[in-house]
């Protein structure tokens, strides 16, 4: 068995007494995992610096400048500080759960990193056929860590934060999953590598086929990772620190790392499903893919991380632009807008799909390539993109706004009327006395 790339090189370097299966299935994946973990954890550490820097720039400040050149060693200083801080466990806390909770969050955030396709060829660690399902399942386990931590602290604010977090998870996980179904209807697979290959085969990014899906996914991703404007579980001005109020030292930093790792994960999913994964297209890409496999793979990894970083930057940009949603507004957006919109997106995608595969007669727009469905040629692409951008979004918006138009006013009016009625009763009572 001959495998190209670093795995093959490893085989030729290691002695023959180690069998092929050990090299390909144990040693090489372990090396991949170590490298991926190192890169992503470093990235996560530097995300904390990026967060502070970007917030500073948006507010016309400089951010950390004192540790190292331009504050580049700040993450190391922060980590050291958190390590040597006192580790406090509140007296009446549930000690076992209090200890386990941040670990649950952290493990859930890190496990998912195995599935992410970092690049073409030999770059992905593994190709699981239910990858997307696995990731969605594990990201909700991360929220479980938050709920446990908030409950175990035996304190008011963390409990409130945990309650908010659970409500938020229920509301937004649904819409997130439904938003991902649109692209899956095209790729016909849950495998991350398969989704990217389907996009490569069709020479398109699914964000053009599924703009509404991408929008919903992005909003839900913000909510899932507890980022502003949906950072209700840790709302600083209302709940001091939210679920991690009672946490200090390294336990706190575990939560912190988990949050940023979760940010990386949701961005990586968005890039894979909607933004073409490692694909950088064009003639150079095809030339390299056919001739210089290793160079192509390395460039694809860089492209993948570039796209992820761009999305992470957008996360931070949004955080420092928008004020926090009120709790009922959060529920409003989740249940009244995002979930119906994602359902409408699925239905409308199906409608375009059926129309596209049956007309025009004899030469249908859409073709089934077995592993995925594509729209080859310019008119087909124009049909799919046009219908998605113009009709789907407009139709959904009109539908939802006409449904939701009076719901809010209705509630407010009934509430006001109830208060007026009570006041009239009180006045009548006072008059009788």
């Amino acid at each position: 068995m001959q495998i190209a790339g670093p795995a093959g090189w490893l085989r030729s370097v290691l002695p023959q007494s180690i069998s092929d299966s050990v090299v390909y299935d144990v040693i090489w994946p372990l090396i991949q995992i170590a490298v991926a973990l190192f890169i992503v954890m470093t990235l996560v550490a530097y995300l904390t610096l990026a967060e502070r820097k970007i917030s500073a720039w948006i507010q016309s400040r400089m951010g950390p400048m004192r540790v190292g050149p331009w504050g580049l060693l700040q993450p190391a200083a922060d980590g050291l500080k958190l390590l040597i801080k006192e580790d406090i466990i509140p007296l009446l806390a549930d000690k076992a759960v209090f200890t386990i909770a941040p670990i649950v969050s952290m493990v859930a955030a890190i496990t998912v990193l195995v599935i992410i396709p970092y690049g073409a060829g030999w770059a992905p660690i593994t190709d699981v056929n239910i990858a997307l399902l696995f990731i969605l399942a594990f990201s909700s386990v991360g929220t479980l860590g938050i709920i446990l931590g908030g409950w175990a602290s035996n304190s008011k604010y963390p409990l409130l934060g945990a309650l908010r977090s659970s409500a938020q998870m229920i509301s937004y996980e649904v819409a997130m999953g439904l938003a991902l179904i649109g692209p899956l209807m095209w790729s016909k697979t849950l495998s991350m590598v398969g989704i990217v290959n389907a996009q490569n085969g069709d020479h398109i990014w699914y964000v053009f086929y599924q703009p509404l899906g991408f929008l919903i996914y992005f909003v839900c991703a913000l909510a899932e990772t507890n980022r502003a404007p949906f950072d209700l579980p840790e709302a600083e001005s209302e709940l001091t620190g939210g679920f991690h109020t009672e946490y200090s030292g390294f336990r706190f930093s575990l939560y912190f790392i988990a949050e940023y790792a979760a940010m990386f994960t949701v961005s990586a999913i968005a890039v894979t499903v909607f933004l073409g994964g490692w694909d950088f297209g064009g003639l150079i890409g095809h030339f390299l893919a056919n001739t210089h496999q290793n160079v192509y793979t390395v460039i694809s990894i860089i492209v993948f991380f570039g796209k992820v970083l761009l999305l992470l930057w957008a996360f931070m940009w949004f955080r420092w632009t928008f004020p926090r949603y009120r709790y009922d507004q959060l529920m409003d957006v989740g249940w009244k807008w995002l979930i119906p919109a994602s359902l409408a997106n699925i239905v409308l995608t199906g409608v375009w799909f059926v129309i596209g595969i049956s007309i025009p007669d004899g030469k249908p727009f859409l073709k089934n390539y077995g592993t995925y469905i594509a729209a080859p040629g310019f008119p087909a692409k124009a049909y799919v993109i046009g219908s998605a951008f113009l009709v789907t979004i407009t139709l959904t918006a009109i539908l939802l706004s006409s449904i939701n138009k009076h719901s809010r006013d209705f509630n407010l009016r009934t509430q006001r009327q109830l208060q007026l009625q009570k006041r009239a009763e009180r006045l009548a009572e006072a008059g009788n006395m």
Binding site: I54, W57, I58, R61, M62, W317, F318, F322, A397
Partner: protein
């Protein structure tokens, strides 16, 4: 609300225009912070955008033109002797009584003649009580006492706030931080 406004409102809500507007504002500040510093006088760079922070110990701030800070006793630029004639007007003008002028009558050679003259011996200035009103400087008949633009008056002791004649004439040595 008319029908047309309703449609306009609907379109702006459909395209989330208000959110985009906010994003553009922050993006402008973000990009301006990357490329420029805020002009101190508003010349050249945009006075409303760019980084506002001054890295103080590393970078000297530019104080306002009429800012009044640490006191100074001026010397005659030709002879190098103090301009102070120990007239005590500054001490009398000071609303906080933070200036103390000590003098004695001495016989001094001036222009080949022996003259009896009031000479300054002690001059202390209590910066902890000074409110930098500049009345002393205005009272001074010889333009000797003056408030400079130096604002670094902090010291570790209360007595450190008392500036004696040496400090006032030469200025205090300030530790300059470079990194």
């Amino acid at each position: 609300m008319s029908e047309k406004q309703g449609l306009k409102d609907f379109i702006s809500r459909l395209l989330l225009l208000d959110l985009v507007k906010g994003l553009i504002v922050t993006l402008k500040y973000h990009n301006a912070a990357l490329v420029q510093k805020r002009g101190a006088t508003g010349q050249g760079d945009d006075p409303l955008k760019g980084i506002y922070t001054k890295q103080y110990p590393k970078e000297r701030p530019i104080v306002a033109e009429r800012f009044r800070g640490a006191p100074r006793l001026n010397n005659d630029p030709e002879t190098g002797e103090t301009l102070c004639i120990a007239c005590n007007l500054c001490a009398l003008a000071c609303p906080e009584d933070c200036i103390n002028v000590g003098s004695e009558n001495r016989e001094v050679m001036e222009g080949g003649k022996l003259k009896k003259k009031k000479v300054l011996t002690v001059y202390t200035f209590d910066t902890s009580r000074c409110m930098f009103c500049n009345l002393c400087s205005e009272a001074c008949p010889t333009d000797c006492v003056e408030l400079t633009q130096n604002f670094e008056l902090a010291s570790y002791t209360r007595i450190g706030a008392m500036w004696d004649r040496e400090d006032l004439e030469g200025g205090r040595a300030i530790k300059q931080y470079t990194s």
